[in-house]
Symmetry: C2
Subunit: 261 residues, 2 copies
């Protein structure tokens, strides 16, 4: 039951698109999968077609319950929603932006998500967590709760700049809180082979991360950005598209190299 | 001397690209312009070609000085760097991610940036502030210090989702801290006319914001993403490109409608 955090503080690099299509892809391969939306924007929640106004509990409620009572047994289970993709999800809504205030005074404020997940870990083959574009308390909670980090990386110049900060944060969490934490994969996204700079950034990322860079590169593909407007992952809505095919290939790469089953 | 915050918590929508090209464009039109980089990623600093390892002070130092001594007269001036574009800039480096901790216990923690800027406001015709992709304390400082908010908006489905949260935050800052705060412009970015969804999002944004939506739409253009690797704004490095032309048109629209001079 590996727990993967999809983390990169650079904005708009494809974290949510990767989290939604990876989780849905794992579920389609028969893995019992949970997707946790830990971004107050709640894009992963929308991308899975969950109606935010109809959910009974969200990740914010899970945090609030655990701050009140560290033993609240079913805090996370109460927020789990079953989606059409044979996938479970913990939704996020705008109230999650109040999480930092709720967590700030809790003892062990960086470990609430780890504690929330521990009662349900054995029920899943995979747990995927979508992070917001920052390295604040929510993201530290994700890094503390995860076994592995998957870093989506746009093939753009500005995206290279934030890497050292991300690695530094992961190192500190690894040293102080979660000794097993490792970057397992770097996934290049929105790649346009005609773009000279994209190819240059790819070479730099491969020099930096070596074998951690996924063999699968996700191309820029309109269908990936259209799918969320239908509330479905692209691999379900546009299975013939290049973007969906690339994510399916990535899912198979992940299962063959790190498969839980 | 209008102060404009370039704000949108959705990641990767073109905040930095807009801040850099707008500020450089205003400077080329003869306006005395200051660009403040308030994002710990420091992309605007890099995009202007400023060597982060060589700066004597950053926005973090400005905050630290003012927390120590609210009357520190030259806190901001000490951090100002002159760039080749006839533009002044206050750089940001990774240490800015520690700003929330520094500000957290200061009295009036949301007003440090406003106070930092007040001694220099009269020396500039325009002050442009680049925000990080979040609605935390740094962004609230920016909203409290700004007269107007410019919202770059990617023509994508997920980008629509965050708008209500952004508007809510602006409303609260306006009511409690900064009564003059208004959204002055919504700038559509990375627009691809062949993309059906892009055009659909454009219509929805125009329905929502009406005349605030800029007549200038920034096209998706490779030169805009290549320019930062040369440390220059696209309007300087690739003046013939479609992306640069669109930003120059936007600068002229801003000057004709809201010109300081
Ligand atoms: N390979 C791709 N090709 C085309 N568009 C894409 C691709 N991947 C993602 N997108 C679109 O680009 C935008 C940014 O992607 P996404 O929202 O997944 O990034 P993110 O890292 O989660 O952003 P944030 O930092 O705001 O959380 C979205 O509108 C998404 O639909
Ligand atoms: N019109 C455009 N056409 C093509 N690429 C663009 C355009 N505008 C910006 N880019 C590129 O897209 C990426 C995201 O833009 P940018 O970094 O300016 O967004 P941002 O909102 O500042 O991101 P963040 O949320 O991380 O601060 C960058 O790599 C940038 O070079
Ligand atoms: Mg996201
Ligand atoms: Mg930026």
């Amino acid at each position: 039951m590996p727990v993967w955090g999809i983390v990169n503080q650079k904005g708009g690099v494809g974290k949510t698109t990767t989290a939604v299509n990876l989780a849905a892809g794992l579920a389609r391969r028969g893995c019992r999968t949970l997707l946790v939306d830990a971004d107050p924007q709640g894009n992963a929640t929308t991308g899975l077609g969950i109606d935010k106004t109809a959910v009974s509990a969200t990740l914010y409620d899970v945090f609030a319950a655990l701050v009140d009572d560290p033993d609240a047994p079913d805090a996370l289970r109460k927020a789990v929603v079953r989606t059409p993709e044979n996938l479970d999800a913990v939704p996020a809504t705008l109230d999650l932006s109040g999480a930092e205030a709720v967590l700030m005074n809790a003892v062990g404020k960086e470990l609430l998500l780890r504690d929330a997940l521990s009662p349900v870990r054995d029920e899943y083959d995979w747990i995927i967590i979508d992070a917001p574009p920052s390295l604040g308390l929510l993201t530290v909670n994700i890094l503390a709760a995860s076994d592995r980090v998957l870093v989506p990386m746009q093939c753009e110049f500005y995206a290279l700049e934030g890497l050292s900060q991300l690695i530094k944060t992961i190192e500190v969490v690894k040293r102080r809180i979660n000794p097993d934490l490792e970057i397992v994969k770097v996934l290049l996204t929105m790649h346009d082979p005609r773009n000279r700079l994209n190819n240059q950034v790819v070479r730099e990322v491969e020099d930096y991360f070596g074998p951690k860079v996924s063999r699968t590169v996700i191309p820029r593909n309109i269908r990936l950005s259209e799918a969320p407007s239908f509330g479905e992952p692209a691999i379900a809505r546009f299975p013939e598209s290049k973007g969906a095919a690339a994510y399916v290939k990535f899912v198979d790469e992940v299962l063959s190299e790190c498969g839980a089953r």
